[in-house]
């Protein structure tokens, strides 16, 4: 039995990754190889990479769906797809990209990087981290099961009632989508709680709140946003499912229900969500771009405050998605005003990046090109967004391809391009090898040109009046050429992404060996080997500035950061817990071993949700749902059972 204690004064020592201490830590933190380790690992680095791989898989699926639609729309009066097939394709494309790709990819990067950026050994809740991945995967499979059965979501990603109600949409399509979103919401919520507690409580001593890397700020901010936004959409979808299967009257007008309740609940979530899927990517740019400009980011404090301000204001603009629904004039004015105001904090980041490039000495790499083009496309997507903040303009533009162009500039420009830049930047850390720069240039330019060729003309398509979500169009409305150009651009974009995968597979085997710090970066993740050992840091570093690896050159901070010399925590799996603001050492945290619980609880929940969807066909579904509930409860009980090794149990009863 492990001997634990109530308190201890940890040693402060110098150590490297080939010391006896490191070998001891390696044995403690290593994941068991093989199939058992696959299901039980709680290593944030493995989980982060899983998130990234899975999210890219969904990106490919969603992209292929888009390409099929673009073939259908390439010429007028095409008959490749039936209207119902087209409905399912654009709905699945939208929900895949927005829910199954855009946030999970950022969660992947944050999962991988948080403990490395913060000088810690794992996320605050390692098992919860594994759980959030498994639930993400299970809910993605759940939602795609409907598509495989030919019952995919078919009412668009925002799924307006009354069309989503049973009277108009009797198949199981909407039930799959509704329950799948409730399921996915669990993953997002626990993941967010994990990021918050990790960023608040498990930082290297001395990394006070004003020294956090901006990417950490981005993810921390949106995690708070998620805690308050996700319940809204989970509830909206749950009420929809009740209306469809239990005969309640939330959204139909027959018994004092109100279809607009759906739009309110949905957009109270979904507008903050827009910021949720871009702010961490903006944070990645704020950390990556300065490395290639050979200087710290201009205006750290302003960028951080504007990140937080954007999220807070993001909760006060949802009505601008509903301008055309006949709302009172006062509401239109207020939400139009708030939608204009929110551009100010967004612009702060743009000017900070431009100033960083302007006053720096840029090193042009593929990652830099992605980050720099991110700024340009953020500006385009931002301006087209401000245009729709104006009520009269929105009356004209809403439900046209202009809005489709806008959302793609936001999602591809400010999410995907940041992610691709981040991938080129951190791939060496994750794999130990560099991505090829030569292939990288081809990858970047083809992606960049293809994207703009596809989506810049789409603004015009919308201004010329083409409504979104129509499966074909007659030849005499002046939309033919524009649509053909968009299709060509879409295929070029897809080819660019294909080159990325070629680059990845090639570089995994043949890429140049990276070493710990190939870009001469300033933050802690570059102080450890690439890829990092399972325990990340042999000793917990002590931080004295924002740029621990640059501070000799910058002369910032008080005193000196100490990376090679730090706290020795080796009485089992341990890391340091620190205070929220000043990051003073507060507690020695005991970290859990690898565990089956995250996987088994996910299985229990999967049984439960499968049972609920089965009630569409058979009342026995309720029995399965109840069984799933019991399994989940038992699984949670096993998971949370207090352990002596984790310092959760009294050493001597009645001491």
């Amino acid at each position: 039995m492990a001997v634990t204690e109530y308190d201890r004064a940890p040693l402060v020592e110098e150590s490297t990754t080939d010391s006896p201490l490191a070998r001891k830590l390696e044995a403690l933190w290593e994941t068991e190889p093989g199939i058992v380790g696959f299901f039980t690992t709680v290593d944030h680095k493995k989980i982060g990479i899983r998130y990234i791989v899975t999210a890219f898989a969904f990106l490919v699926v969603g992209g292929l769906e888009a390409l099929v639609m673009r073939i259908q729309l390439a010429r007028p009066n095409m008959t490749l797809l039936t209207p119902e097939q087209y409905d399912q394709l654009f709905s699945m494309h939208g929900l895949t990209m927005i829910f199954l790709y855009a946030l999970p990819i950022l969660s992947g990067f944050s999962n991988y990087l948080f403990p490395l950026l913060l000088g810690s050994r794992d996320m605050a809740f390692p098992r919860l981290n594994a759980f959030s991945y498994w639930v993400y995967l299970a809910s993605g499979i759940f939602i795609y099961a409907s598509f495989a059965m030919g019952h995919g979501a078919n009412d668009g990603w925002f799924n307006y009632v009354p069309y989503a109600l049973k009277a108009y949409n009797p198949g199981p399509n909407m039930d799959f989508y509704a329950l799948g979103m409730v399921f996915l919401g669990i993953s997002t919520t626990v993941g967010s709680a994990n990021f918050i507690v990790t960023a608040f409580r498990t930082r290297a001593p001395g990394m006070s709140i004003n020294r956090l890397p901006i990417m950490t700020w981005g993810t921390l901010t949106v995690s708070f946003g998620n805690l308050f936004a996700v319940p809204s959409v989970s509830l909206a979808f749950f009420l929809l499912w009740m209306d469809r299967q239990l005969g309640t009257h939330f959204y139909d007008t027959t018994a004092d229900g109100q279809p607009l309740l759906w739009q309110h609940l949905f957009w109270m979530f979904a507008h903050p969500w827009v910021y949720v899927i871009v702010l961490p990517a903006m944070g990645m740019v704020s950390d990556g771009l300065p490395t290639f400009c050979r200087r710290p980011l201009v205006g750290y404090t302003a960028v951080v405050l504007s990140t937080v301000a954007t999220m807070v204001l993001g909760f006060g603009v949802w009505l601008h998605h509903m301008f055309a629904t006949g709302l009172p004039f006062l509401a239109l004015s207020f939400f139009s005003g708030s939608s204009f105001i929110i551009t100010i904090p967004s612009a702060v980041a743009v000017f900070a990046w431009i100033a960083t490039i302007w006053t720096g000495r840029p090193v042009i790499t593929t990652a830099f090109l992605y980050f720099a083009s991110f700024i340009a496309m953020f500006t385009i997507g931002g301006v087209s967004g401000v245009m729709t903040a104006s009520v009269p303009a929105d009356f004209q533009l809403t439900d046209t391809y202009f809005v489709v162009a806008h959302i793609h500039y936001v999602l591809i420009g400010i999410n995907l391009f940041g992610v691709l830049g981040g991938l080129y930047f951190w791939f060496p850390k994750m794999t130990g090898r560099m991505l090829s720069e030569r292939l990288g240039r081809w990858n970047f330019w083809i992606t960049f040109i293809g994207f703009n060729l596809g989506f810049l003309p789409m603004h015009l398509t919308g201004l010329f009046g083409m409504p979104r979500r129509i499966y074909t169009y007659p030849p005499d409305l002046g939309w033919n050429t524009l649509n053909l150009v968009t299709t060509v651009g879409a295929f070029m974009l897809a080819f660019g992404i294909l080159l990325l995968f070629v680059n990845i597979f090639h570089s995994l085997r043949h890429g140049r060996i990276a070493g710990p710090n190939p870009w001469d970066g300033p933050s802690l993740e570059w102080a450890v080997p690439s890829p990092p050992p399972p325990y990340n840091f042999a000793v917990i570093p002590v931080v004295a500035s924002r740029h621990p690896l640059w501070e000799k050159r910058l002369g910032e901070g008080i005193g000196e950061s100490s990376v090679a010399r730090g706290l020795v925590l080796d009485h089992g799996k341990e890391t340091i817990g620190t205070t929220v603001l000043d990051a003073q050492p507060d507690v020695i945290l005991k970290m859990p071993e690898d565990s089956w619980s995250p996987f088994t609880v996910t299985l229990g929940m999967s049984v439960g949700f499968t049972g609920l969807i089965l009630t569409y066909w058979t009342p026995y579904g309720w029995a399965a749902a109840a069984a799933g509930l019991v399994l989940t409860g038992l699984g949670v009980l096993v998971w949370l059972w207090p352990e002596r090794k984790l310092g959760q149990v009294a050493e001597h009863a009645h001491a």
Binding site: V12, V197, L235, F250, D256, L589, K590
Partner: protein, 200 residues
Amino acid sequence: MPSAAARMRTLPVGSVGVRASGWWGMMCLIGTEAALFAYLLFSYYYFAVQFGRSFLPNELPSVRLSGPDTLILILSSVAVWWGERGIRQGSTVRLAIGLLLGSVLGAVFVGIQYLEWLDKPFVLSADSYSSLYFTITGFHMAHVAVGVLILVVLLAWSVLGYFDRVRHAAVSIGAIYWHFVDAVWLAIFFTFYVTPYLGW
């Protein structure tokens, strides 16, 4: 030559009170659950504003059952609080009594709520008011049921001697959840049983 080893000041080890990660995780859970109930109550007030008096049932909801039930829930919070204070002073017995009382009172609350459900002249699928009434109180009852289970499990663990003056983070985490569930009820009670009498 690396400089000599030194020692840092003494730090607590493992799960200790509000230093435990689990306590912070519970704060996040409470935040998101509070938002969930806020959106549920938003739906109620949205309908109330949209439809006015016609949204409410002809006979306004009465406090005959819900009033005493509210007191019972508050008492259960007091019992759990008293028990948790006990373990802070090292008394496992006081903790066990507090948890036992708290879980029994919680179960009584659910029972009386169920009686009130049976007492209602309408069903879930009658209209938007009935849908909301059963959904919101149902969501809350589910939370109370989970809370009672948590208290029972904590009771079992305290009987097994898992907790002492220092190591009782699980109790604090479970207790704060229970107080939260009770506080939510006050918001629901105010919404369903008080606001209809405030005039339209």
